[in-house]
Assembly symmetry: C2
Homo-oligomer: 571 residues x 2
């Protein structure tokens, strides 16, 4: 929808408020009740979006191939881009501006001076306009996500579209709540000695500085929209640094954000793009600059931990990764539980920070509706469910998508070699490609399933970023929980899963998960992915274990992104 350039912040407020203030109010309500809500639909059905939009979106993305992705930002030194589609294994050939860090910092600093004076309610509405425009072009985004990250079309549409925008609006809602909590004005009266003192006080919300957002490769939007919107709302210009293998979704976000900013009369340099290459990473140049005061990072535990160990005097928010465990104590029907776990481990070929990896099962077996099942039986049931999925390549494609990076293939290969070398390991299902019905060249891999002994922590207790499921026999169900929660505490976890028909067991296990700072899903089955995390409702990352220091989203995610400066004088 085209909009006339708006003359003043006040006019921008009026126009944007008419469009989005209801959404903002509903979002603020949703983060409080944590009930299900979204202003968007996460189904790509043309019944919802109209017959043309899907094809238009695909065409819009494909029109970029081999071209420059024009973003008119300062200090452009060259045009770079190395993205390769995991579906076609062909380079996209799209290039993006690489600006000198000094130029982006200078432009951001200038932008901060005017952006901080824009009322935060208006800034929040600008974010909602950016979200709406991203949603309007979400079919284009979905194809981009497919071809840089490898997500399936359906997942790309939902998980990197509305679900990601919701996560961003959730953070925005918290930012607005936190700032509304600061009264802009007070009159303070009390007696001091003989005097009746009356002071008029003003409290000004101040941004902290520039914000660097380091985006990950597999979920570039879901993980960066929250930081982007939280920063913009609190007045901090955002420098978006995409992963060099997944630039497009971030570049598209930046381009749309800049268009909205310009259109409403604001400095577009409130949002800029900082591209780099793996050979010449640029993040540190921003981190070292004193004007950069906020850093959000999503990505590897290794780099995340390096940032956590080195950054001082800045606000740092990290979401890295961990080992997600499943404990199975007893089930009503093994195939149902196996399906839930197997499908979730197959989703996006386990390239999600919530994918289950390590399944603890008591060595004496678990009670099921059909008698006892051994750990080996559990592994077989998982393998069967994966096989059933793979037998239907169209369904498999919709679930597994493609493997983004060759590195993940290597990870699974290395794991397999380690397992094969041991006599006490049984590989129940080999990892193998599935034939993608639409893209014959797609890099695909279905999960490996193995039963491995509890002492093999070196393998199953490390995050293996690729499709692999370890079934680990334990001395008892309580031992399973002890191991799962120790794993969470020591190596980090983002999601844990527990299956039991025994309420006493569930009750006595809960505490250990809380102690480990592990978000827990209990007895989830059925059509919802067990690793689905709903914005406005499910907190993502607790900050209590090594999988990250920040949560999406809570007050802590936003409250230190701004400061308050006061002035007072006699009334």
């Amino acid at each position: 929808m085209a909009t006339q350039a708006t003359a003043s912040p006040d006019a921008a407020y009026e126009e944007l408020s008419a469009r989005h203030s209801d959404t903002l109010a509903r979002a603020i309500e949703a983060v409080s009740t944590r009930e299900s809500w979204s202003p968007f639909s996460d189904s790509p059905s043309s019944k919802i979006h109209g017959a043309e939009k899907p094809a238009e979106g695909q065409a819009a993305f494909e029109a970029w191939l081999g071209k420059r992705y024009e973003i008119d930002q300062p200090g452009i030194a060259e045009w770079i881009g190395d993205e390769v589609s995991p579906y076609t294994r062909q380079p996209l050939g799209i290039t993006y501006p690489r600006s000198e860090p000094a130029a982006l910092i200078e432009a951001g600093t200038k932008a901060l001076a005017s952006w901080r004076k824009v009322d935060f309610e208006t800034r929040a509405l600008v974010c909602l306009e950016i979200a709406q425009r991203l949603y309007d072009r979400n079919f284009e985004m979905a194809h981009a996500i497919m071809h840089v990250a490898g997500q399936s079309y359906v997942q790309a549409f939902a998980g990197s579209g509305p679900n990601a925008l919701d996560r961003g609006i959730e953070a925005l809602a918290y930012a607005v709540k936190a700032m509304r909590d600061v009264t802009p004005h007070a009159v303070w009266r009390r007696k001091f000695g003989p005097d009746d003192v009356a002071l008029e006080k003003h409290y000004t919300i101040m941004p902290r500085g520039l914000a660097l957002v380091i985006c990950c490769a597999s979920f570039p939007t879901w993980n960066s929209h929250p930081a982007l919107f939280a920063n913009l709302a609190t007045g901090n210009p955002a420098i978006m640094k995409p992963h060099p293998i997944a630039i497009f979704p971030v570049a598209m976000t930046v381009k749309i954000a800049r268009e909205v900013l310009s259109e409403f009369g604001f400095d577009p340099n409130v949002v800029t793009l900082a591209t780099d290459t793996r050979e010449q990473p640029v993040a540190q140049a921003f981190i070292d600059d004193p004007t950069v005061q906020i850093i959000d990072f999503t990505g590897s535990a290794r780099y995340g931990s390096q940032l956590e160990n080195s950054i001082t005097k800045k606000a740092l928010f990290t979401e890295t990764s961990g080992v997600n465990s499943v404990v199975i104590e007893s089930v009503a029907a093994l195939p149902t539980t196996a399906r839930a776990v197997a499908r979730s481990a197959s989703l996006f070929s386990a390239q999600m920070c919530t994918s289950p990896q390590t399944i603890f099962v008591p060595e004496d077996g678990i009670r099921t509706g059909d008698g006892t099942a051994s750990p080996r039986d559990v592994a077989q049931a998982l393998a069967d469910e994966i096989d059933a999925l793979v037998e239907n390549p169209k369904a498999a494609a919709g679930v597994m998508g493609a493997v983004q990076a060759e590195l993940s293939m290597d990870v699974v290969d290395t794991v397999r070699s380690k397992l094969a070398a041991r006599e006490d390991v049984e590989i129940v299902r080999e990892a193998s490609p599935y034939p993608h019905p639409e893209y014959p060249e797609a890099r695909t891999l279905t999960p490996l399933v193995a039963v491995v002994p509890a002492e093999l922590e070196a393998v199953y207790a490390d995050e293996q970023f690729g499709p692999v499921l370890f079934v680990v026999p334990t001395a008892s169900a309580d031992d399973a929980v002890a191991r799962a929660t120790r794993l969470a505490k020591e190596n980090g976890t983002i999601a844990t899963y527990l299956y039991s028909t025994n309420e006493d067991f569930i009750a006595r296990s809960t505490d250990a998960y809380e102690e480990a700072g592990a978000n827990l899903s209990i007895n989830l089955h059925g059509s919802m992915w067990i690793n689905f995390a709903a914005a406005y409702s499910d907190y993502h990352v607790t900050g209590l274990n090594p999988a990250g220091n920040a949560s999406l989203a809570d007050l802590a995610f936003v409250a230190s992104r701004f400061r308050i400066v006061q002035r007072r004088r006699p009334e």
Copy 2:
């Protein structure tokens, strides 16, 4: 007031809620409206407190002299204490337990396990009970503060009693607000494919870990009550580390806190005392321990900056110090303005983090009700007001109190030598002791006043922790603001002051102060000290300049002290 030991957390809640829930509600309202409110009276008048309490309080403090200050906490290795009264220059002879850090950490970790399960509303009420008991014994605290910090009796009673407790309750109010913002429970429903999914979700508030509170010497309670209460409310046991020259006020707080905790059936090791000596400081042992996750520090900029530059992976809240400036552009009556500034610089002999130090005055002079006044005239007016105060030793004693440490005497001495060596400096008033009417041995010092050239930043732009006022002529009034705000940005500031009868000048100056993250008081005169900071209303420290990274109190001060862990399951 004696209380029966309470059997259960629920019973504790009922009893404490009856006593304090109104106070909590009022405090939460006050931090929102930021209007004047306190549940306490900050006057020591016996009309309010009864005829006996003042004498009883003094006797209670004096009864400790030369004795062990018994605190029954774990791991006591020895009894130490080196406090010397700035009034009598005699050792207090009180000794306090020095516990091994490992023992305090072990006890704190154990206490955390039970304390985290106490409902946060109950935890908050426990804090209010601690506050009430401290208030009930505030005459004893006032005498302790006098004899360890050197504050005057009246200031000790108010500033280290009710004003400090208010600051603590303010932080508590924010902590409760932030935790109430997290719904404990939600039911989430949406359709997934063919399934109607309904999930029951629980959200648990979790503490981060142990909290170390490093207290300062000059205002041990005002600066540590907020951290103590914020930590306790959010479930983090607090290890209170007093400055080795000002242990008593912190030890008294710890003792009362432990009594309240025990009385209501909680683990007293939720609050412990970590004493040390200047020769063998103990803070780092706690900082290095991974169970310690929160550190609050008030004290020197040097140590604060060392902490800010070295601490990673922990929440760190600092309030250090800075150079507080006054800009005088024009005044209605010079003596009135000079009195306001001079008295505030005399208060507690300028040993306050809000004391004004450096006064910028346009070299061409300022407009006053009586014509133009030069920088020299301003300096003289300040000197006259100080002289007037000193002429009345009783009034002087009530304002200036004593100088806590010999170091501050040396600071002023060194400044004087530097100034005397220069021809372009005029010392308008010498720093000199005043005779304390009650304590002839008291270490006292009245402010030095000098006119120093703008280029002498090496002296006036550093915090000189002692009574000294520099008048600095500037090229213009705008240059004065430019210098004051640059000083704030580069060297840190906690309070800045501006005097002008010109509304245009005030309006155009405001922005620069905001940019510098400097809280500004404009045209304050009269009975209220211009550097008085009111809890619930005045934010203390912005976090935007080197004077500290945290503010008393806002959501950022509390929001990252706790985390949220969720679990979900089918409804």
